[in-house]
Symmetry: C2
Subunit: 122 residues, 2 copies
């Protein structure tokens, strides 16, 4: 895998610190395993998506992939985030791709089955 790639795990953000702590715990194994990965927030929390993209660009990284920590695509992922990324691409010499929300990935559906099976066993 090229060291010139940056993965941004994009969460919504909230003024409630507990919200962010949940996303930080969710991201932790990924952040620990993959040096390319960072967390970023769409709004209300830091580090912002904008600051993380700017940081990657400043490091000379041109391949930025945004993995939305969202279960499904609503208004934010269909409209707001693409607009934010277009503005950043227009301003910085980078390539940014927005990947599907994690809830669309079969790995999550499989994990959910494990969670519910566990729930029935307790």
């Amino acid at each position: 895998m090229p060291a010139s790639t940056r993965i941004l795990l994009l969460a919504h953000g909230s003024s409630d610190r507990r919200w962010c702590e949940t996303f930080e715990a969710l991201a932790r194994p990924t952040l620990d395993a993959l040096p390319e990965a960072r967390i970023a927030y769409m709004e209300l929390s830091e580090p912002s998506l904008e600051s993380q993209v700017e940081q990657a660009a400043a490091e000379g990284i041109k391949d930025i992939r945004v993995v939305p920590l969202f279960l499904a695509a609503g208004r934010h992922l269909r409209r707001d985030v693409p607009a934010m990324l277009e503005a950043l691409k227009a301003r910085l010499d980078i390539d940014v791709i927005l990947l599907p929300p994690i809830g669309e990935n079969p790995r999550l559906a499989h994990a959910l089955k494990g969670i519910v099976t566990e729930t029935l066993e307790t």
Copy 2:
């Protein structure tokens, strides 16, 4: 596992049909594997949480467990859903427990690491 348990996979709901399709796909392996499981929506989509709890009560099921298909607990899970469940418990002879949002489960954090690793390999 007791046949007298009902698991409700609770999603937010949306007027956008694509939103619900994502949650139905996310729930599919669980629904296929576990006859106790049903999907329910908090608002804007059917079947509603209320109708699914009423249905379980009508079937004589007293042990209802709600698994939130949410990554983290915001206002809905801290306030709105508990209030909905309290009102249902006051009206029906049932026991309902609200479990943590799936995003707090280590299985999801592990699945996320798999998704991101896969993303880096393509």
